[in-house]
């Protein structure tokens, strides 16, 4: 969707009537830093960036864009790893970073009302004095915004026990494509009617603009204990994960890193990870003191049985924070050992972890690209980081092919192509492998109900049937697409 210079000028004029000059960026120089999000391999220059301060301005921007049929891509902190906030060449970026206020904290009802640009970790920091925290903790929690978390239904280390974003929010205020302000969900746990809150969570900016979020807060556990187990064999570590859960233990977090990831994370965090281990598991247990002590004994026994070469215990908060700091910074820390990496986000049933790891190692040799493995092992969410050099011609394409192979294997084993990072632009083609025509048709109908002209984040998350057909994943009869009446975007 290219845009004519006249349309561009007219659109900028309309936007300039409601925004201050510093809230509207339109020259290439200042647009350039917005051409990609956390996935810097995919870039598009938008026609403008709008940085509103008020909900009213967001409503006006939507009215203008709706009237002009201009694509709108919402952007929070721009830390996403699937290109969800990658601009549209004929559209604007709606930057929500200025909405960074915590509006209300209600410790009695365990909720907080926050603006979408508030950083995930800032919520926890603000409610810590009440001995509360916001449970979903993506590794980028220091920087990623809550609005983006809702849009991607983000997970994190603690989601194994405490659920994803969708399980930890109560209500949203959204601005529709036409510019209307709606509240969905409520402060009550159950709502009548269709679960629009569930629908919006993970909708990747394609149904509306999130302008306020009511999050649930979780009380600090009475006791927390962290175990770090080292393994000389990565498959043993994989088996240990499956065994812990199979024994009825649900840790607050159960994470795995392999040798390359350990080394990079240690360089940054100096957490005391054993560099000679092939893999480590970080297992956090929380609850009442009695429960924690009982579970710790049980877990240690399982880890030893599964071949852990040593186990380190971190009973106090400072040590725990240090051990988590390395894990949480593991992705970017890999920047120390490779100029670029391509982060995958597949899920698999836990029992297959060892098998998948073996296969990844095999693929690594075949593609001649190194892989650092960082997993939310407890919930079977893999994050293989494929290391490549973007300056070398053809390496990105090779990394992409390698990544697609891994995700195909995930789907084959009964898992999915994304655990928490979203589909965005990056994995859109693989959606054709995970969903059949009928399922995609339902997605399109939902999209059309909220955004009939398809101006909200077009081209992301849900592929057109046409695109899938081109990729050969859909049956096209006599050259005709099924349901030709369905809009394709």
């Amino acid at each position: 969707m290219h845009i004519s210079p006249e349309t561009r000028t007219s659109l900028l004029f309309q936007l300039s009537e409601i925004l201050q000059p510093e809230q509207l960026l339109s020259n290439k120089e200042e647009l350039r830093p917005y051409e990609c999000d956390g996935l810097s391999a995919y870039k598009t220059l938008p026609i403008a960036v709008a940085l509103p301060d008020t909900i009213q301005q967001i409503q006006q921007i939507m009215e203008i864009c709706c009237r002009n049929n201009t694509p709108v891509v919402a952007r929070g902190a721009g830390t996403g790893l699937s290109g969800g906030a990658q601009p549209h060449e004929g559209g604007i970026i709606l930057g929500l970073a200025r909405f960074n206020k915590i509006l209300a904290i209600d410790p009695d009802n365990l909720t907080a009302r926050v603006q979408p640009g508030v950083r995930n970790l800032a919520i926890t920091e603000a409610v810590r004095q009440h001995k509360l925290y916001y449970a979903p903790d993506p590794s980028s929690q220091i920087a990623c915004s809550i609005g983006g978390n809702v849009a991607e239904n983000s997970g994190g280390v603690h989601c194994l026990k405490y659920g994803l974003t969708v399980h930890n929010i109560l209500a949203l205020k959204i601005v529709t494509v036409e510019g209307d302000l709606l509240t969905i969900g409520s402060n009550a746990l159950d709502n009548t009617g269709y679960d629009l809150l569930g629908l919006f969570t993970g909708s990747e900016g394609m149904l509306g603009i999130i302008v306020e979020v009511v999050v649930k807060l979780t009380p600090d556990a009475e006791d927390t204990h962290l175990l770090m187990a080292a393994f000389n064999d990565i498959e043993q570590a994989g088996n240990a994960v499956a065994s812990i859960i199979a024994n009825g233990i649900i840790p607050a977090g159960l994470e795995m890193m392999d040798k390359l990831a350990i080394s990079a994370a240690e360089d940054f965090a100096h957490a005391g990870y054993p560099r000679d281990a092939e893999a480590i598991l970080l297992c956090e247990l929380d609850g009442s003191t009695i429960d924690v002590s009982e579970q710790t004994q049980k877990t240690k026994k399982i880890l030893t049985e599964q071949g852990a070469s040593f186990i380190k215990e971190a009973p106090d908060k400072t040590q725990q924070a240090k051990l988590w700091a390395g894990r949480k910074a593991a992705f970017p820390a890999v920047g120390r050992i490779s100029p670029d990496y391509y982060c995958m986000d597949g899920t698999i049933p836990r029992k297959h972890i060892a098998k998948v790891l073996k296969h990844i190692t095999k693929l690594s040799t075949e593609f001649d690209l190194r892989v650092a493995n960082v997993f939310h092992a407890g919930d079977g969410n893999l994050h293989p980081l494929i290391l490549y050099d973007a300056n070398k011609e053809g390496e990105l394409e090779k990394a992409e092919q390698f990544g697609a192979e891994i995700l195909r294997l995930c789907v084959k084993l009964g898992g999915s192509i994304t655990g928490e990072h979203g589909v965005g632009n990056e994995k859109i083609e693989l959606m054709c492998e995970q969903f059949n025509t009928e399922e995609l048709t339902i997605f399109h109908a939902i999209k059309a109900a909220f955004d009939p002209n398809g101006i909200l984040n077009p081209g992301k998350a849900v592929p057109s049937l046409h695109r899938c057909a081109e990729l050969g994943h859909m049956h096209v009869h006599n050259g005709e697409l099924p349901h030709p009446d369905i809009p394709r975007f």
Binding site: K28, S40, A143, G335
Partner: protein
């Protein structure tokens, strides 16, 4: 990150340095989370990740895209280097910014007015004599001035008497350019404390400014001249095995430690700069190694500690002063957002007054929330800047050891 430096810069020292730094950035955006200007302005162009991108354009593009807007976004950076502490990939942002600023100015030169303003600042601030005279005049007239201007002129602080004993252990001291006039008590307090610990200080009159002021005001040539002048003045003592070069302003300290970066194209001097950098120590690094608990402490206080960015992010000295103060009986109050800049940042408070004021306001709110007896810090810039906004005394922590 993918980086293709343009041909004419590809093989220059700066081009190579830019490439290696840009390639270490993975564009994760963690840095924006702890960037003071990104928090205030919410624009990617005003956070480290965006600035890195702007600098990338300077080194990659044909220059047609880079205008005074790039320069403005780079000017708005405080150089606090909080992003470096946050960055898991180890991106050397400060060094990149430094070479980026130079290129931005070449591509979009400043107006004559602005150049003049910077020149004036540079000549006034980096000369202790000129600055001292002006300050004295201001202090004399202080009672007659309107409140706004009055607040900007710090009250007179008295110098203490310097010890005269000569010890076997000797160290060099960099007294600084504005510090002797603004707060002469700091250098004398340092001399008194070190005297009690059996160390004498040597000050060379030829050494005036560390070079940071010129560097901030984009007169790199002047900065290099000052740096070389300082190295020359110290060289005999260094050759004779001086133990350390002490700084009591962390802003000067980080500059000394970065001398090799600034003299990266200066051949023989680069080697000398590396030695100076290795000998440079913040006063906290010296005291913590000595038997400081034996020093007589007159009175203990409830303190708010403001760690200057040049100490915690620039020199990566974290926890030293806290340890010194708590081990000598003082109470340190918890401070929210301790990693965020106070807005002083060298000449930033003069060149970017609006942003600086906002940061000062936020910082003082955090520092005074629990009503401390005094605020302690480790850099003359932060000290003067913060004192402008509060009645609570703001002092260098070394003063508590005399």
């Amino acid at each position: 990150m993918e980086t293709h430096i343009k041909k004419e810069l590809e093989n220059t020292i700066d081009g190579k340095l830019a490439k290696s730094i840009l390639r270490s950035c993975v564009h994760c955006g963690f840095c924006n989370a702890t960037c003071p200007t990104y928090q205030l302005l919410g624009d990617e162009n005003d956070g480290p990740r965006g600035r890195i991108y702007l600098i990338k354009q300077l080194f990659e593009g044909d220059g047609s895209e880079s205008t005074e807007k790039t320069r403005l976004h780079l000017d708005r950076c405080l150089s606090c280097r909080s992003c470096e502490t946050t960055c898991p990939s180890g991106v050397k942002y400060g060094a990149l910014l430094d070479i980026g600023r130079k290129l931005a100015e070449d591509l979009a030169p400043r107006s004559r007015e602005e150049k003049k303003k910077r020149k004036r600042l540079q000549t006034t601030l980096s000369s202790p004599k000129r600055f001292g005279t002006l300050l004295k005049a201001g202090q004399l007239l202080r009672p007659l001035l309107p409140k706004d201007t009055r607040q900007k002129i710090p009250k007179k602080r008295l110098a203490l008497e310097c010890p005269t004993t000569i010890h076997e252990r000797k160290m060099l001291i960099l007294q600084g350019c504005v510090q002797p006039a603004l707060s002469p008590d700091i250098n004398t307090a340092t001399a008194i404390v070190l005297d009690k610990l059996g160390i004498s200080l040597i000050h060379h009159k030829k050494v005036k400014c560390c070079g940071a002021v010129s560097q901030h005001l984009s007169s790199e040539d002047k900065a290099i001249t000052q740096i070389k002048n300082n190295i020359d003045a110290w060289w005999d003592d260094i050759s004779n095995g001086i133990e350390a070069i002490i700084t009591t302003a962390s802003g000067c300290g980080v500059m000394l430690k970065d001398y090799p970066h600034y003299l990266r194209e200066e051949g023989e001097y680069l080697y000398k700069a590396e030695i100076v950098a290795s000998l440079s120590k913040d006063i906290s690094e010296i005291i913590i190694e000595e038997n400081y608990t034996s020093l007589p402490i007159k009175k203990t206080h409830k303190l708010s500690w403001h760690s200057p960015c040049t100490l915690q992010h620039g020199q990566k000295i974290i926890g030293y002063v806290e340890e010194l103060l708590t081990n000598t009986g003082h109470t340190l109050l918890p401070i929210q957002d301790g990693h965020i800049c106070c807005g002083s940042a060298g000449t930033y408070s003069i060149l970017q007054p609006e942003l600086s004021k906002q940061l000062k306001h936020n910082k003082l709110e955090n520092l005074t929330r629990e009503t401390p007896d005094m605020i302690v810090t480790a850099n003359i810039g932060c000290q003067t800047h913060l004192q402008q906004g509060t009645e609570i005394p703001v002092v260098h922590w070394i003063n508590l050891f005399i």
